[in-house]
C-alpha cells in the first residue's frame, strides 16, 4: 500500500467517524423535513386513495380517483392548457430576457438606473400587479384598449374572451419574469472570456455572427438554468391566473392548479384533488429531469 492511499484511507475513516459521531446535529433538520415535506407527501398519497368529503368523512376507494382522472375531459384540457401557458410564458421571457441582457451588457449612460427600472416588475407582489392588470384589461374602461384605439388599432378582448385569455395571461407572466432571465443571463455574459471575440473580430465577423456563433453557445448553460427555473414557475403559476380570471371565461384559462384548487376547496373533493396533486407532481418531476438532463449535456466545458 503506498503512502498516498494509506493517507486517503485514513481521511475517509475520519470522515466516516465524523458522520457517525455528529449525526445528532442532522436530527433537527431531518425532523423538519419529515414533518413538512415527507409526511404531507405521504398523507397526500393516502388521501388520493380515499374519497374524502368533509361532511361524511373518509372512505377507501383504491385507485378509482386516478381512473376518474383519466376519463375527466376537464382535467385533460387543464393539462393541455397548462402546457400551452407554460410554453408561452417560458419562451417569451427567454427570448426577451436574452435580448435585454445583451443590451444591458453594453456600456451606455445611466445603465445602472435603466437596469434597476427594468427589474422592478420582478419585485412587485403578483396578486397586487394582477389586480392592476385586470383593471387595464377591462374591454371598455381599460387603458390598454384606450391606447390601441388611440393608435387606430382595433380593441382586443384580452382576458375577456376564450381565445385571447391564455396569451394575455402569458404576457403578464412575461412582463414580470423577463427581468429574472435577464439577470441570470447578464451574470453569464459577465463571465464570458473575451479572446474568442477578439479572434472573431480579426477574422471579420459581424456583430450578429459573433452573437450567433460565440455568445449564444457559451451562454447556453445559463439559458438552460433560466429555462428550468421559469418552467417550474410557469407550471405552478396560480396567483396571477386566479386573481385575473379565476380560470375563466368559462374554463378557458383553467390550468391544472386552478382545477386542483376548485376540486379541493370549492367542491370539497379532497381525495380526488390529492390524486390531481400527485399527477401534477409527477409531471413537474419529469419535466424538470428532462431539463436538467439537457443542462448536463450542454454544460459549458
Amino acid at each position: 500500500m503506498s503512502a498516498t492511499t494509506a493517507a486517503a484511507v485514513g481521511l475517509a475513516r475520519r470522515r466516516a467517524n465524523y458522520a457517525r459521531r455528529y449525526w445528532v446535529f442532522a436530527v433537527p433538520a431531518a425532523v423538519v423535513v419529515v414533518a413538512v415535506i415527507i409526511f404531507p407527501w405521504l398523507f397526500t398519497v393516502f388521501m388520493s386513495l380515499h374519497e374524502w368529503d368533509p361532511s361524511h368523512g373518509l372512505s377507501w376507494v383504491g385507485l378509482s380517483n386516478y381512473a376518474t382522472l383519466l376519463s375527466d375531459t376537464r382535467f385533460g384540457w387543464a393539462v393541455l392548457r397548462t402546457l400551452y401557458f407554460s410554453v408561452l410564458s417560458v419562451g417569451a421571457p427567454l427570448i426577451l430576457g436574452v435580448a435585454a441582457a445583451v443590451c444591458f451588457n453594453q456600456r451606455f449612460p445611466l445603465r445602472g438606473v435603466a437596469r434597476t427600472i427594468f427589474i422592478l416588475p420582478m419585485m412587485a407582489t403578483p396578486v397586487a400587479i394582477a389586480l392592476v392588470w385586470s383593471m387595464m384589461f377591462h374591454p371598455q374602461l381599460g387603458v390598454l384598449n384606450y391606447i390601441l384605439t388611440s393608435l387606430g388599432l382595433p380593441p382586443s378582448t384580452w382576458t375577456y374572451a376564450a381565445n385571447t385569455v391564455i396569451p394575455t395571461l402569458a404576457m403578464v407572466e412575461t412582463w414580470q419574469w423577463t427581468p429574472l432571465v435577464m439577470l441570470i443571463v447578464l451574470g453569464g455574459l459577465a463571465s464570458l472570456p473575451q479572446d474568442p471575440y477578439e479572434a472573431a473580430r480579426i477574422d471579420g465577423a459581424s456583430g450578429w455572427q459573433s452573437f450567433r456563433h460565440i455568445t449564444l453557445p457559451l451562454l447556453w448553460p445559463f439559458i438552460i438554468v433560466a429555462a428550468v427555473i421559469r418552467t417550474i414557475d410557469a407550471l405552478k403559476s396560480f396567483d396571477v391566473i386566479y386573481v385575473i380570471t379565476q380560470g375563466g371565461p368559462g374554463t378557458a384559462s383553467e390550468t391544472m392548479n386552478i382545477f386542483l384548487y376548485q376540486e379541493a376547496f370549492a367542491y370539497y373533493k379532497l381525495g380526488y384533488a390529492s390524486a390531481v396533486t400527485l399527477v401534477f407532481f409527477a409531471l413537474i418531476v419529469v419535466i424538470s429531469l428532462v431539463m436538467l438532463k439537457l443542462r448536463q449535456r450542454e454544460k459549458w466545458q
Partner: protein
C-alpha cells in the same frame, strides 16, 4: 346583647345586597352579564355588515363582559376554511357568519352547527325584546333545514334589483320596463354600438353569472331543482326560455367582453354612464352614489326586477350567524348572535346603507329611515323586493359545482352556443353529481 358574630353576619348581608338586587333585575329583564369573563372568536365574511358588527363590538363587550376576537375573511376563502375546520372537529371560532346560499345543505347534513330553536325558546338566554317574529319569513325559511332545525339566525338577505340609468332612458324617451319581455326590447332599443352605449349589463363570468340566470328563471315561477333537492329542472321549457333570455340580453345588449365580467366589472361599466340597466345585488349600491366612483350619482335609479311571464320575484342570498356544535362557549356565542341580529344592529346596518337586514321593523323605523343616504326610491325597491324574495341558488350540497357547470353553459351561450342544447348538456352532466351527493 350584641355579639361580634351578629355584627359580622349583618354586615355580610348588607354586602350581599347588590348581588341579590341585580339577580332580581335579571329575572325581570335579562342577564346579559351571565357569561362575563369568557372570550369568543368570531369568523366573518368580508362585507359592510361585518364592518358594522366590528364597529359596534366594543358595545357588546361592555354590555356582556365577554371579550370578542373577530376576523373578516373574503367569502370565497372563508367558506372552505370554515368547512375544513369544522370537519376537523376543532374550529378556531365560536361564531360563524354563514353564506346560506352556498353552505346551507353542506353544514346542515354534517350537523356542524347548533340548532338555534332551543336557545330562542329559552328565556334565560334570549332577551324578551329580541322579537324573533320580526325577522322576515323568507329569510327564516332559508335558514331552516329540511329536517326542521334552524341552525343559524338570519342576518341579511342580499336582494337582486335592477340599477338603471335615468339619463339614458330619458334621452331615448323610454320608461322603466314593466315586464321581462319589455326589458329586452328596451335594452335593445338603448343599445347603440357606435356610441358605445349598451342597454344592459350583467355577470358573464362562469359561476358568478348563475344568479342572473335564476333571476330570469324565477320570472317563470320556477327553481333550478325540485323542492326535495333531487331532480334538476334545468331542461324544462321554462328553464330554456330563461337561458335564451340570458343569451339574448348578454349577446345583443351587453358590452363586448361581458363574458368575463363579475359584479365589479359590471359596476365600473355602469358607473361610467354608458349602460342602461344592470341586474345585481342591492349590496353594490353604495359606490354608485359616491361622486368619487360614479359619474351617474344623480341619474341612478333603483327598481324591482320586472315580472316575468308567470311571476315576479327577487333572487335573494341570505347571510346568517351560527354557532359550531363543537364550540365550548355556546352561551356566550349565542349572546353574540342574538346581539348581531338585534333590532339595534340591523337598524344600524340599514341606516348606514351597509345591507338590507332581515328584520322588517327596521324599514319603518323613522330613526333608521330618515337619514338613509340612498333615499326613498331605494328603500321602496328594497321593501318591495323583500316581499317577493326567493332563493337565487338551489339548496343542494354541491352548489359550487352546480354554479360552475351551468355557469360554463351560460358563457358558451354568450359566445353563440344554442341555449337549449347547452342546458340539456349541462343538465345531463350535473344530474349524476347531484345523485351522488344525495346518495352519500
Amino acid at each position: 346583647m350584641i355579639r361580634r358574630r351578629t355584627i359580622l353576619q349583618g354586615s355580610a348581608g348588607l354586602l350581599a345586597m347588590p348581588a341579590i338586587v341585580s339577580r332580581a333585575n335579571a329575572a325581570s329583564s335579562f342577564d346579559w352579564k351571565q357569561f362575563k369573563g369568557q372570550h369568543i372568536e368570531v369568523s366573518l365574511t368580508k362585507n359592510p355588515r361585518s364592518d358594522v358588527l366590528q364597529k359596534h363590538q366594543k358595545e357588546f363587550e361592555a354590555m356582556t363582559g365577554i371579550s370578542v376576537g373577530s376576523e373578516q375573511i373574503p367569502e370565497q376563502q372563508q367558506r372552505p376554511k370554515a368547512a375544513l375546520e369544522m370537519a376537523s372537529g376543532h374550529p378556531s371560532f365560536d361564531v360563524l357568519m354563514v353564506s346560506l346560499h352556498v353552505s346551507k345543505r353542506l353544514f346542515g347534513s354534517a350537523h356542524w352547527l347548533e340548532d338555534m330553536r332551543p336557545y330562542l325558546a329559552n328565556p334565560q338566554l334570549t332577551a324578551p325584546d329580541y322579537d324573533f317574529a320580526d325577522i322576515g319569513a323568507g329569510a327564516v325559511k332559508t335558514a331552516t333545514q329540511a329536517d326542521g332545525r334552524m341552525d343559524s339566525l338570519p342576518l341579511n338577505p342580499d336582494l337582486w334589483i335592477i340599477f338603471w340609468n335615468k339619463a339614458i332612458f330619458k334621452a331615448a324617451g323610454l320608461a322603466y320596463p314593466s315586464s321581462m319581455d319589455e326589458l329586452l326590447t328596451t335594452a335593445r332599443h338603448l343599445t347603440d354600438k357606435k356610441t358605445g352605449t349598451y342597454g344592459f349589463v350583467g355577470r358573464g363570468l362562469k359561476n358568478a353569472n348563475l344568479p342572473v340566470y335564476t333571476s330570469w328563471l324565477l320570472g317563470q315561477d320556477q327553481l333550478t331543482v325540485t323542492p326535495d333537492g333531487k331532480k334538476l329542472l334545468t331542461d324544462t321549457p321554462e328553464a330554456i326560455w330563461a337561458a335564451d333570455f340570458y343569451a339574448k340580453t348578454m349577446r345583443e345588449c351587453a358590452p363586448p367582453g361581458s363574458i368575463g365580467f363579475n359584479w365589479n366589472e359590471c359596476q365600473t361599466s355602469f358607473a361610467q354612464g354608458k349602460i342602461g340597466m344592470w341586474l345585481d345585488g342591492v349590496g353594490f349600491s353604495a359606490p354608485l352614489i359616491d361622486p368619487k366612483a360614479s359619474k351617474i350619482v344623480h341619474d341612478v335609479g333603483f327598481a324591482v326586477v320586472p315580472k316575468g311571464p308567470k311571476a315576479q320575484h327577487s333572487a335573494s342570498f341570505v347571510d346568517s350567524m351560527g354557532i359550531p356544535a363543537s364550540s365550548k362557549k355556546k352561551g356566550a356565542a349565542y349572546l353574540y348572535c342574538q346581539w348581531a341580529t338585534s333590532k339595534k344592529i340591523m337598524g344600524e346596518i340599514l341606516r348606514t346603507g351597509s345591507g338590507t337586514p332581515a328584520r322588517l321593523s327596521v324599514y319603518t323605523d323613522p330613526n333608521v329611515v330618515k337619514d338613509n343616504k340612498f333615499g326613498k326610491e331605494w328603500l321602496q325597491a328594497v321593501m318591495d323586493s323583500q316581499k317577493i324574495s326567493a332563493p337565487g341558488l338551489p339548496e343542494i350540497i354541491p352548489v359550487t359545482e352546480f354554479r360552475d357547470t351551468f355557469g360554463v353553459a351560460l358563457t358558451n351561450m354568450i359566445s353563440g352556443a344554442d341555449p337549449a342544447k347547452e342546458m340539456k348538456r349541462a343538465t345531463a352532466e350535473f344530474q349524476p353529481i347531484l345523485d351522488k351527493s344525495n346518495a352519500g
